[in-house]
Point group: C2
Chain length 111, copies 2
DNA sequence: TGGCTATTTGGCTAAGCTGCCAAATAGATT
DNA sequence: AATCTATTTGGCAGCTTAGCCAAATAGCCA
């Protein structure tokens, strides 16, 4: 594993880490639909404004969202449109897990 | 955000979190090529065996890899083949970041 | 200006993660 | 059985994260 490769892996890990939180995934989902102000998102998430603001800062730092200040408010939108596709594989993983679990349950019931 | 939705987001976040570490990404990359024993991976990663073993346990817990004990050794392989595609979007994010950075650098040089 | 709303930042605590060493476990070999 | 190799587990120190409250900042409106 050379230096360049390591840096590449670290960069990828940073992006994944920024996405790896339920609230931030929710925000990403919402921003897929349309841009939103911090206030909007705060109401939808149901946490303290400061918490949501910090989540948004993390997403921005990772390059996943952009912000746009208009008047009083700051609107956030996705920086990268392809995040939707991103979940095809995650879903596959989750489906696999369900199948595994139900298979295991069946084995326990009928050993 | 109803209960089912929240659980779905948490499940997705767990998978992403399992991937969000440079060493674990490296392991995933290696396992894309072929199955590997813990010893193999430890040599490639260059950390303590116990550390690598714990990374593997995390990947397994998330449903990303499967293990297979043969004789003395435990071989790990990917549970889900589609992880390769998973990175198209991450790469797009990273490319965006580079473009942003070089654009900003240009602005600083020629304001 | 003063007050109002929207957002960010600082500070704190509780909880979680990472990596190492040491010890335990499991299989193979002599 | 004794020993060797491969792997996992327990435990700890150091570091990071999440969430809240309080305070600071920024723009709007009377």
């Amino acid at each position: 594993m050379n230096n360049h490769h390591r840096q590449q892996l670290e960069a990828r890990a940073r992006v994944l880490k920024a996405m790896a939180h339920p609230t931030r995934l929710f925000i990403i989902e919402e921003l897929e639909k349309e841009e939103r102000s911090v206030n909007d998102l705060t109401a939808m998430v149901g946490a303290d404004v400061s918490t949501v603001s910090k989540h948004l800062a993390q997403l921005k730092q990772a390059g996943l969202v952009r912000d746009d200040k208009r008047g009083n408010q700051v609107f956030y939108r996705l920086a990268v449109p392809c995040i939707l596709n991103f979940f095809g594989c995650v879903e596959a993983v989750l489906t696999e897990q369900l199948q595994q679990q139900s298979a295991a349950a069946t084995l326990r019931v009928r050993p």
